[in-house]
Structures are given as C-alpha cells and as structure tokens.
Amino acid sequence: MSEDAASTEAESGDLTAAEQRRAVRERYARIATESSGCCGESTGCDEADADDRAKRLGYAEDDLASVADGANLGLGCGNPNALASLREGETVLDLGSGGGFDCFLAAREVGDSGRVIGVDMTPEMVERARENAEKNDARNVEFRLGEIEHLPVADGSVDVVISNCVVNLSPSKPQVFRDAYRVLRPGGRLAISDVVVTASLPEDVRSDPESVAACVAGASTIDALEEMLATAGFERVRISPKGESRSFIREWDDDRDLGDYLVSASIEGRKPAH
C-alpha cells in the first residue's frame, strides 16, 4: 500500500503521462460529439439510460428533471453535489465538468448570488457544456478549457471543489489535490465521487490506454488517496467506498468483472479554517 502512495505517478501501469492524457482527451472528445451522449450508438445508450444510471448513482428524480437533456452523459460514478451540501451564495468549482450536469445542479443550489465554474481539458466537452448552459438558461455557470493539474483559478477563491469520476484519469493526482487545496478558501471543502481500487488490476488492464481513459486503470487505492490528501494539507479526510456501486461498475466491461477490482467512493476533505 505504501508503495502505491509513493509511486503515484507510475500508478497507471506503464503509460506515460502524455499517453494517458491523450487517451483521455480522445475518448471524451468522441463522447462529447456523439449525438446522444452517454455511450454512443454502438451500445444504444440514450438519454433514458443515462437518467436511469444517474438514479443508481444517487441523483433524485427531481435533479434529473431540472436539467435540460444533453448535459447528463452518464459518465459519473456518484453524486458529488449530494456530498457537498451546497449553500446559497457559494462559489463552486467542478473538476472535469464534461457536459455540465453537476454544474447545473450545483447552480440551482447556490442560486443567483453564487456561481459555478466548470473546468475541462477537452474542447468538445466545453463547447457542449456551453450549449447546455444556454438550454438551461444557467447564468451563474461558466465553463473554461483548463487542466485540473494547472487550474486557472485564483488562490482562495472557491468555497467547494466538486468532481465526478475524473481525478482517477489524471497522471498526477497529488498535483490535482495540491491545486484544489490552493484554490479553496480557508474552511473550504472538497467533495468528490471517484472510483478506487480494492484489488490489484491485471497487468494487461493497467497498461491499456483505453482502460485508463475509461476510469479503470488509473484509479488509486484508498490508502494512497488518503496520503495524497493529507500531504496536500486537507483535514477531516473521509473516503467512503460505496459497495452498491459494484453493480454498475460490473457493466463497464463486457469481458471482465471489474467489480472485483474497483468500487466507487465518496472522497471528502476540508482546508483548515486557520
């Protein structure tokens, strides 16, 4: 376990950071430009499937009804908004905002006096999110192209950092947590849903770029994540695996039962108030 924590950069098998980034950008550009979103035509996954999935991830019917079609791409693994307990007037930053679904839900919680910023490194995703912002008439939401390891966000300017099944995609997770810590105001909180590894993945999975891009091979252990968060400066770190998530993780791969290796977890922490 400690070895995992120490060698986080090499964690996702033998892919270089650049290879990993490329695989992720290509996959999500493809998803963003597919008409129906979700998993595209080959599997016949449509908006109804994405909504059905979202309900299993912990979104309420009312959440789904409140966001116009096209934002929920069915790519999450939990509901970070539910963790975040957002309040009116807060500033929220979503790491890897994708189609914008979690941003629009957060925008509803923080109201007109609050604001939500979505950062994503895939141009096609940001364009799609911006179109969705118009459909949702979401005036307090802004999207920008950026990398979660190099956030274009000022120090201490954010109340809450949320993220849904994205941090596992990063080849340098400690840097993601350091930068999230930097942008949070003192007392600000981190509320993330992500997959964590519960057993060593087979070597062929670890070195497969597609598998990294699909939120599988890049995932860390709970111990490694705890250490990264503590090193970044977070307190009250709590990582809670959600056993029930194994049922939908099992559906991510036709050939292999990934539920044996991965589980979705909520990852929370706080920047000390003083």
Binding site: L145, E147, H150, P152, A154
Partner: protein, 60 residues
C-alpha cells in the same frame, strides 16, 4: 466569458492575474479576445466565449 469572473481566474502556470483584451462582446459576455498574464506574458485566447486556459503545451 463573463467579465465578472475576472476576479477569480488566473494564469494556470504561475497563478498571477490576467489582463483582458476584448475583441468582441455582447450584452452579457466577452465572445472573443485574449487573456494576458501580467507576470509571464503568456497569451490565452477566448474563442466563441470560451477562455482557453490550458497550459500552452496542451493547446491544439
């Protein structure tokens, strides 16, 4: 990009303030322009209302 967001964005590389140069705008937001880092001078384009604040080596 709404101008009200200028106070919370920064250069992704050195985290210094950015200066806004506007080429085109409507009532609500800046549609085209450039964000220039006041420290390193790096220029980040705004196209179709979307600021591209990716690190320079990741830009297409």
């Amino acid at each position: 990009m709404k101008e009200s967001l200028m106070d919370i964005i920064c250069c992704p590389m050195d985290k210094h303030d950015l200066e806004l140069e506007v080429d085109d705008r409507n009532d609500e937001e800046v549609l085209a322009g450039t964000l220039v880092c006041t420290e390193c001078g790096e220029r980040y384009p705004i196209e179709d209302g979307i600021p591209n604040l990716l690190p320079p080596d990741m830009r297409d």
